[in-house]
């Protein structure tokens, strides 16, 4: 019962552009992450039935600060859809975004399946075809981003859109732990960080995701895209603004937001 009601609340928020109240408490039991993933799967099934194409997954809650804030000790994941990709440098409309925030991440593109339930960094290194710099446009269907773990899991890990760089880089050419990250708005840094901010190393986030998805029966496959998690704090989007993310060794990626109205 609560799954259907949570799905209905999220669909309404997507349809109207008006965020819903938190799902926890009224619709989902606090801490019931399993049921929250059932909501996420039901939402995804609806999107796929409507012809939308899943292309990979994103890892969320990868920073120690965010995990402390939500009182959790592990990340979460959501599904990436092809139609939510914004071309590098393009302007994206504010329509359909409720309360977007941007963050810079390392995107992994897999060249091999990751079928095992127990995954090591070696598996991820071998399976990685290339890396791209990415901007994730996170968004929440929950009013005021007032989320607990069950709210964000049900809401596809607070996914919005994403922007990928276009110049592939080999894993061996980047220091994923030490790489600097700066997200700039009008030439000024609005968020800074380094690779280690993402679970100590973005590679660890991908290994966690691969094992988690394999255990859930839907392992990562060759060709899948993985957004591994933020390298610094999220920044609320200003309508009309442009953001550039630069990751040391990976290059840069940019996105512009249309003005309101």
């Amino acid at each position: 019962m609560s799954v259907e009601q949570a799905v209905a609340a999220l669909r309404e928020a997507y349809r109207t552009g008006v965020p819903c109240p938190p799902l926890r408490g009224a619709l989902l039991a606090e801490g019931d992450v399993e049921t929250a993933y059932a909501v996420q799967r039901a939402m995804l099934a609806g999107w796929v039935a409507g012809g939308r194409r899943p292309v990979g997954a994103k890892v969320g809650l990868t920073s120690a600060a965010v995990q402390r804030q939500l009182g959790v000790d592990q990340p979460d994941f959501g599904t990436l859809l092809a139609d939510l990709a914004v071309p590098d440098g393009d302007q994206t409309s504010m329509t359909g975004l409720l309360q977007p925030r941007v963050e810079a991440e390392v995107a992994f593109v897999l060249g091999a399946d990751l079928p095992h339930e127990q995954v090591t960094s070696v598996d991820v290194i071998r399976a990685t075809d290339h890396l791209l710099p990415a901007i994730e446009i996170a968004d929440s269907r929950v009013a005021g981003w007032d989320i607990s773990i069950v709210d964000t899991v049900a809401d596809n890990a607070s996914s919005g859109r994403y922007v990928l760089g276009t110049r592939p880089v080999r894993l061996a050419d980047v220091d994923l732990r030490l790489c600097g990250m700066v997200l700039e708005h009008a030439g000024e840094p609005v968020s800074v960080g380094a690779g280690a901010a993402c679970l100590g190393n973005p590679l660890h986030a991908v290994a966690w995701l691969a094992g988690t998805l394999a255990r859930a029966g839907s392992p990562l496959r060759a060709g899948d895209l993985v957004l591994s998690g933020a390298l610094g704090p999220m920044v609320p989007v200003t309508p009309g603004a442009a953001y550039v993310a630069r990751i040391s060794g990976l290059g840069s990626v940019r996105v512009c937001f249309a003005g309101e109205g």
Binding site: V182, A194, S248
Partner: protein, 249 residues
Amino acid sequence: MGVVEELAIRLDEAQQAGKAISQLTATTELDVDTGYQIQAALVARRIQRGELMVGLKLGLTSQAKMTQMGVREVIWGRLTDAMRIPDGGTVEVGRYVHPRVEPEVAFLLTGEPGPFGSAVRAVAPALELIDSRYANFRFTLPDVVADNTSAAGFVLGPWQPVPDGLDNLGVLLEVDGRVVETGSTAAILGDPRRALAQGTHLAARAGVRLAAGWVFLAGAATAAVPLAPGSHVRAVVEGLGTASLKASE
């Protein structure tokens, strides 16, 4: 004795005793220019005791700290040889009021004016030990300027050739081997090279010329963390290496 000298003595004694005092502005109205006069008098006392000027440091170089203090301009302070801590060396926490550490990038200066390439001979990863002499690490802008921008100590890692890009090197602050802060040199005014340009300009305004062999601490790449007795602290800068210190009681 003038009021500037009197306030400098108060700060000097607080630093030597490792005991906090109340803000100077609690009893005396001060502007930033007077703050710099007090700082000059404060460091002059240290020079009279035999310390040597070895460089400059910048403060409030991050957007977050500028917003917190409600300012738009960086501040600068003076470094003496007594503040130098050898790489891997030990500091006694008890000698300070409430020390904190932050990872930085340091420049070795040629003493030549002009563009970055001719003004800087080498670059090093660095740790700065900051220690406000004011209770609870709380101060106004004139207070912190007078207090030599909380300068207390610095560690320099090995000098390296100036890399092609300095504007986005990843920076980690590790305590006992755990990463406690992550950042980038981009946090330093968007690019640490800007820090040198602004520092040179501000120091010149006060009649201070950067000398050959001086060290320039460009600013913090992450938030500062309290220095706990017994801990080992390391700054790691992408492509530059590390600088570390050990804290004793």
